[in-house]
Amino acid sequence: MGRRPPAPDPFPEEARAGRWLTAPALLGLALFVLLPFLGAVAFSLTDLRLGSPRGPSFVGLEQYRRLLEDPAFLAALRNNLLFALGVVPLQTGLALLLALGLRRRFPGRAPLRTLLFLPVVFPMALVAVMWTVLYAPGPRGAVNALLETASLGLWEPRDFLHDPAWALPAVMLTSIWQGVGFQMVVLLAGLQAIPRELYEAARVDGAGPWRQFLHVTLPGLRNPLLFVVLVTAILAFRVFDQIQIMTQGGPGHATTTLMYEAVRAAFVRQQLAQGAALSVVFFLLVLGLTWLQRRLLRQRAVLA
């Protein structure tokens, strides 16, 4: 047939070990990640429903067309974007400030770092329940009372989680609260990796603290910063737990997200196929963001 016979494996023992050692992981990934993913794509082209005695039939891109006309989907997309645009700079900025502060020596630095990381180990479901209580409406709600005191009585108590304007920011604050510790630690490690000599050199050249920050700190932090920014952006698209517990997507569609809509479509409206279509769209968005992250990181790594 003209094909070369495959070359004999030079390291048969290694080859056998290699195949056996990776087999469970590959099998697991194929069964529990690849297969469902292909399933999602396949389902999204049908009209599969949960519990219907009638089998599914092929409908092409109909589910996607419906999504584009669905105000809930468009709202979810908008909310995910707003979430990312809000949480990423705020959370990263706060984490950077904290990391910068933690770089200096002062009494109680180590326990402080421990404490600031603490909310990261809280499950998001618990964080959502806690903040639901804090956001209670009326002057007796904790957040309302705090704002009233801080504004010297100018603040009108609001029902945050049911207010079309405040619901999304309220949920964003909850996410920031839970996540900032993680970013802080990553950025702190990045800061500690910047060689002291660069700062010495800058000082010798007459640069003050602000210019040192701009020309030594920020460039040295480029990789960790990019990493936390893009990871947080990706996580901003995966938001589900807080929405399910705190606002159920409301008021109206003010806080619904892609994942929340996907779960609602599949389990509440029983339209599995539409849930699958939402999942595919979600995947494409995350793919885009990840590709962006890889490109930017690789560029820098080459230059670093």
Binding site: E13, G252, R269
Partner: protein, 445 residues
């Protein structure tokens, strides 16, 4: 030499791996309640699923299961409670996996959906005729679909307006004696304003806004009917549809009124679910299950009133949890035996003593201290008997119908445009009725 050592180590790993996998699978089997095989002294139990409602109700059912098991039946029952929120989603997921129990409690209106899926077994042969004839007409109507009886509840529900007599007297309200004398909604609103003057935070009404879920449909669809609207109605072709009914002017007007109460601050957000019981509000939209708690809080000061009349007469809700036997149950006769036990008048009275619901059998109603002659809750029974209770739509598409209405009501609650919200809901419902493959089901019973 090294080769054999390596191979031995490899073999050790493999054994460890298999052992680990085995342990995990064993754990997995642990997670599931595996039934013992075959009848006999340790006969496989009848699996029963019920919703986790009010604590007294749960305890009553547990006690009933214990009593039944203690009486030495052929097969004992094993009771599991599922959380009430998302109950239907849970049942759906289990149905998909073929995991349904033998005796399954369902929220009444969802019955049609599961019959359509082919999950339920008719009860006609399993319940004696005398029992069926003793059931309240509303209970029979709820459990019947496509001409056969698929579910029976041990109680029906009551929905009304609880009030504090003392506060209402101060506000100069005349209390209606029966559903025919319900306050017209304009008079009700004037009363709210008078009550608000005497109230520190101006919120004088509890609508149960924090409950969400099926409560929204159960509690507020009657207001639509009372105004002349509704959820679904047969269209010109005889098939059920929402357009023109749910988004019609009467329905919109009813919900706009309710939205007005919320917007003016007359409704308590009730985050701690104690607005009425702790005295913050004078009136509460509530169901029979609230009676024990409210009675304990206010004693003689508590009154039960019909819901306000939005134009076409006061309307209220009906329907509650029903027991069904699943098609996949391997021993339906044993399941029915427990059901017959639950339907004994004394057992019905035990349950309704705990949850204050309307007993499902006429013989039990007569003996009930709450619903019998002169009983404090007879308003509920009167509403059911007098045609003022409106059942929720009986269609296989009910899960979608109620989800759409709940979403619309949430929008109303949050101050968004009522007409737009109802229109969206009607469109979603009609689309589902057209495409869901319901066929003749879409025409209703």
């Amino acid at each position: 030499m090294a080769e054999t050592a390596g191979r031995a180590a490899g073999a050790g790993r493999a054994i460890a791996g298999v052992a680990l996998a085995g342990a995990l699978l064993a754990l997995g089997a642990c997670g599931r309640e595996a039934p013992a095989p075959g009848p006999g002294p340790r006969a496989a139990p009848v699996t029963v699923w019920a919703h986790a409602g009010q604590e007294a109700e749960r305890r009553a059912l547990e006690a009933q299961a214990a009593r039944y098991n203690a009486s030495g039946p052929v097969r004992p029952v094993r009771l599991s409670f599922l959380p009430e929120g998302g109950y239907n989603a849970q049942v759906q997921a289990a149905a998909l996996a073929g995991d349904l129990p033998c005796l399954l409690e369902l929220d009444g209106p969802y019955l049609a959906h599961y019959v359509w899926q082919g999950r339920l077994r008719p009860l006609d042969g399993l319940l004696p005729a005398a029992l069926r004839e003793d059931l309240l007409p509303s209970v029979l109507a709820q459990g019947r679909y496509r001409g056969r009886l698929y579910g029976v509840g041990t109680f029906d529900s009551g929905l009304g307006l609880y009030g504090r007599r003392s506060l209402l007297d101060v506000a100069g309200a005349e209390l209606p004696e029966g559903p025919g004398e319900a306050w017209p909604v304009e008079r009700f609103e004037a009363l709210l304003e008078r009550l608000a003057e005497a109230d520190p935070d101006g919120a004088v009404l509890d609508l149960g806004l924090q409950l969400r879920g099926e409560w929204y449909t159960y509690a507020f669809a009657p207001a639509l009917h009372s105004a002349g609207g509704g959820l679904l109605a047969p269209g010109p072709d005889g098939r059920l549809r929402a357009h023109g009914v749910l988004d019609g002017p009467a329905s919109v007007a009813a919900l706009e009124r309710i939205q007005g109460w919320i917007r003016r601050g007359r409704v308590d957000p009730n985050l701690d679910e104690a607005a009425f019981a702790s005295g913050r509000v004078a009136l509460a939209w509530g169901g029979h299950w609230d009676w024990p708690r409210y009675r304990e809080a206010w004693g003689e000061d508590l009154v039960l009133l019909p819901l306000p009349d939005f134009g076409q007469g006061s309307r209220t809700g009906q329907g509650s949890w029903v027991w069904t036997v699943t098609a996949s149950c391997p021993h339906p006769e044993a399941a029915a035996a427990f059901l017959r036990f639950l339907l004994r008048p004394e057992e019905i009275l035990a349950m309704t003593a705990a949850n204050a619901a309307v007993p499902a059998r006429r013989s039990a109603v007569a003996r009930s201290p709450l619903y019998g002659p002169g009983g404090p809750l007879r308003l509920f029974a009167e509403q059911l008997a007098g045609g003022r209770a409106v059942p929720r739509p009986r269609t296989a598409a009910y899960p979608v119908v109620t989800a759409a209405f709940q979403e619309a009501f949430a929008a109303v609650r949050d101050g968004l445009d009522v007409a737009a919200a109802l229109r969206r809901a009607a469109e979603a419902i009609d689309r589902e009725l057209a495409e869901g493959g319901y066929g003749a089901e879409a025409a209703g019973t």
